[in-house]
Symmetry: D2
Subunit: 258 residues, 4 copies
C-alpha cells in the first residue's frame, strides 16, 4: 500500500515512521525539506509537491467542523476523496502506535486506510459524515477541559483547607474517577510545573468551538462555559503557551501564584 504523508511535525514524523517500519511505501512532503531526512534514511521517498503525494486525501490534523467541510468540498469538487481523521493522543501514543483515530467522510477511503490506521492507532472509528470527526474531538476535549478545572479546584481547595494535596492524588487514584490525566499531570501541577503537552490556548480554542457547537444546537453547557472563562482568565494572565493544567493558577492568590 502506497501512502503519501504531508506535514512532518512531532506527530506526523512519528506516524510516518511507524508506517515505514511496518512495510508501507511512504512518500513524504514537508515545507522544510530537512525534516524529511530521517525518514529518507528509513526508506521513505520525497515528493516534489503536495499534489504529487496522493489523491485520496486524509486530514489527520485537528480543524473545526466547518473548515473540515470546506476542505472536503474543495477536494470532492476536483474528483478526489476526502476523509477527516483527527487523532486523540499526543507525542508518545503517536510514537507507539497507540493513537485513537476519529475518522469521518468517504467510507471507501476509510476502508482502504484501515491497514494504516491499525498501525498508527490502537483503535479507529468511522463516525459518518465529514465534520463528525472534528465534532467528536471537540466533545472529548470539552469534557477534558472541564475535568481539568474540577481537578484544579480540588487541588487548590485541598491545599488551602489544610490537606496534603499528594494525599488527594493518592485517594483519587484509588476511586471511581481515577484516570490517566489526573495521575499523569497531578504531581507536576503540585510543583507549578506546566511544561506544555497541550497548550492552554489550544484547549481554550477547543472549549470555544465546543460551546459554539452547543449554541448551534441549543444545548446549555454551564460547566463548560465556566471552565472556558477560567481558561480565558488564564490567557489574560499570559499563561496561554503553558500546558492547559496552568488553569489552576487562576484559583490561587497573588502570594501563591508567583
Amino acid at each position: 500500500m502506497e501512502i503519501g504523508f504531508l506535514g512532518l511535525g512531532i506527530m506526523g514524523k512519528a506516524m510516518s515512521m511507524n508506517l515505514l517500519k511496518n512495510g508501507f511505501k511512504v512518500t513524504v512532503w514537508n515545507r522544510t525539506l530537512s525534516k524529511c531526512n530521517e525518514l529518507l534514511a528509513h526508506g521513505a521517498s520525497v515528493g516534489q509537491t503536495p499534489a504529487e503525494v496522493g489523491k485520496g486525501y486524509i486530514d489527520m490534523s485537528t480543524v473545526d467542523p466547518e473548515t473540515s467541510c470546506k476542505i472536503s468540498e474543495a477536494i470532492m469538487s476536483k474528483g478526489g476523496q476526502f476523509l477527516e481523521a483527527p487523532v486523540s493522543g499526543s507525542k508518545q501514543p503517536a510514537e507507539t502506535g497507540q493513537l485513537v483515530i476519529l475518522a469521518a467522510g468517504e467510507k471507501a477511503l476509510y476502508d482502504a486506510a484501515v491497514p494504516a490506521f491499525d498501525i498508527l492507532g490502537k483503535k479507529s472509528f468511522f463516525l459518518g459524515e465529514v465534520g463528525n470527526g472534528a465534532k467528536m474531538k471537540l466533545v472529548v476535549n470539552m469534557i477534558m477541559g472541564s475535568m481539568m478545572n474540577a481537578f484544579s479546584e480540588g487541588l487548590v481547595l485541598a491545599d488551602r483547607s489544610g490537606l496534603n494535596p499528594n494525599d488527594l492524588l493518592d485517594v483519587l487514584d484509588l476511586g471511581a474517577i481515577a484516570n490517566p490525566m489526573f495521575k499523569g499531570k497531578g504531581p507536576a501541577m503540585l510543583q507549578n510545573n506546566y511544561s506544555p503537552a497541550f497548550p492552554l490556548k489550544h484547549q481554550q480554542k477547543d472549549m470555544r468551538l465546543a460551546l459554539a457547537l452547543g449554541d448551534e444546537n441549543a444545548v446549555p453547557m454551564p460547566v463548560a462555559a465556566a471552565a472556558n472563562e477560567a481558561f480565558k482568565k488564564a490567557r489574560s494572565m499570559r499563561l496561554g503557551d503553558l500546558d492547559f493544567s496552568a488553569v489552576s493558577e487562576t484559583l490561587k492568590d497573588l502570594k501563591h501564584s508567583t
Copy 2:
C-alpha cells in the same frame, strides 16, 4: 482484637461481616435489633446499649467537618479516643473489602485499627487532625460532581450535534480521561436510567459543603459552583432521589426529558 460496631445499614453490615469472617471478635448494636440476626449467625455478639460497645470511637459515616469536630470534643471530654474514618466506595467495595478509608483524629487509635482497616479496605489513609477525613471526602466528591456534569454536557452535546453517544463512550474509554465512573454510568445514562447508587440530593449536599469549605478559605471554584447550580436545578425538577447522574436531565429540552 475486639471491635464494637454501631449501625448496620448496607455499608455497616457488609463491613462487620468482613471483620467476622477474618477472625475479629465483633459486638454489634443497631437501633432495629432484627438487623443483627445474620451477623449473630456468623458469630457476632449483640450489645445492649451503644455505650457498651466500645470506648475508642471510630466514626466511619460521612459527616461534615464541623459535626465531626463536635463529636470528637464530646468523646474526648469524657476521656475517650476519637477517629473519623469516612470511606470512599459504596456497597460492592464494602462487601469485597475494597473501600478506601480516610481516617483522621487520634493517631494511636488509627494504629490500633489498622488490622481492621486492612480487612475493610484496599487502602487506608491517616490524614491528621479530626475534620481532615471529612474534608478529603468533600474534595473528592466535589471533583466527582463537576466531572459528572462535564460528562453529561458531553453526552447531550454529542447526541444533539448528530454524533452517536455510544461512540463517545468508546472514545472516552480509550483516552486520557478514561475512568470507572464514565464507563460504569455512561450506558445507563444513555437509557435515561438513573437508579440511585448515590442520590443526587446527597451529591448536591456535598457540593454545597465543599463550596462552603472553599468560602472559608477564599478559594474560588467557578466550575464547582456551576455544577452545584445544575444539581439544584435537578432538585427543583424533583430528581433529588435519583442517581446523581440524573443531572444530565437539566440539559435536555422538554421533549427529550420526559
Copy 3:
C-alpha cells in the same frame, strides 16, 4: 437637508416620520412598496432602487462588528462614505425621538448627519472607527442580559422563600439599583407574560457575540457566560421567540413553569 431611508420596519418608519415632521426632505425605499404609503402622505418621495437613495451610507441597524467592517470596506472601495449608527431603544423611543445613537466610522458623515440625529435621538455619540458602534451596543446588551438573569433569579428566589415578589419590585424601585427595565418588565414577568419586545433569541445572539469579543481580547466574563447558558437553556425550552425576560422560566420547576 436631503435624506434617503432604506428599510421601513417598525423602527425605520418611526424614524423617517420624525425626519419628515421636522422639515427634512426624505426619499424612502422599502422592499415591500406598500409600506411607503403612509410616509408618502406625509411628503416623502419614493426611490426606485436602493442605490438612488444616497451615497453617504449610514447603517442604523444592528450588525456585528465584523459585518459592519465588511460593509464599510465595500462602500469605501467605491468611493462612498460609511457610518455605522446602531441605536439603543425600541419602538417607543423611535417614535418620540428619544433614541440613543451609537455612531462610528466616517467623522465627516457623522458631522453632516448630526442635524438628523438630533431629531431621531436624545443623544448621539461618535465612537471612532467602524465597528465601535456595534461593539458598544454588544457591551450594553451583554450587561442588560446578565441583569435580566440576576433580576429573574431574585424574583424566583423571593417567591420560593415566602416573600411577595411585588414587594421586591417596590423595594428595588426605591434603591440604588432601580432602573427602567426592572420597573417596566417586572410586573409582566410576575404574570408569566413574555410578549416579545426584544426576542430572547436575539438577546442570546448578542450575548454570544459579546462573549466572542471578550474571547478575542482575553477578557474573562464568568457572569455573562452563565447568563448566556441560561438563555441557551431557554432556547432549548422553545422560548426563543418570547421576550428575553422569559429566561426566568429556566429557574422554575415543572409545576410552576407550565
Copy 4:
C-alpha cells in the same frame, strides 16, 4: 413617643439624630459612652444598660434570617415584642431620612413604630413573619452583587476592545438599565478607586447567604453563583476590605491590576 436606641455607629447616630430633631424623646446606649455626647447635646438621654432602653425591641441591623428568628424567640419568651427592620441605604440616606425600611415580625410593634419609620426612611414595608426582612435584604443584595459583576465585565470589555469606558457610562445612563449604582460608582471604578462604601467581604457574605436561601428552596441561581465566585476570587486577592466594586479587578490581567 419614647424611643430607646442601642448602637451608635455611623447609621445609628444619623438615625437617632433624625428622631431627636423631629421631636422624639430618645434614650441612647452605646458600648463606648463617648459616642453618645453629640446626641446628648441635642437632647438625648443616656441609658445605663441596654435592658433599660426598651421592651418593644426593633432590630434595624442586618442579620441573617436564622439569627433574626433566634433573637425573636429569645425576646418573645420573656414577654417582649420583636420586629426586625433592616434598612436599605447607607450613610447619606440615613442622615437625610431616605432609608428604605424592611420590617417583619410583630405587626403591633410595626404599627407603633410607623411614626418613627416615617422620619427615618422614605418608605417602610411590613413583610410578614420574622425573617422576611432579612430575606428581602438578601435578595436585593444578591441582585445588586450580580449587577456589579455584569457592570464590571462591561467596563473591562469596553476598555480592552478599544472603546472609551466613559462613553459606556454615558450610554448606559441614557438607557433602559440606567441606575444610581452604575452612575455613582462607575467613574470611581474607572480610576481603580474602591473606597469602601459597602465592603466586598460583606457583599460576598450576603451572596453566600442568598445562595444558601436558594439551596433551601431548590432555586437554581447560576448567575449569582458565578458572581459569588468572582467575589471569592477578589477575597483571595486580598480585596475584601475594599468596596465591592473592586470585584472588577478579578477580570484584569496582572499588568492592569496593579
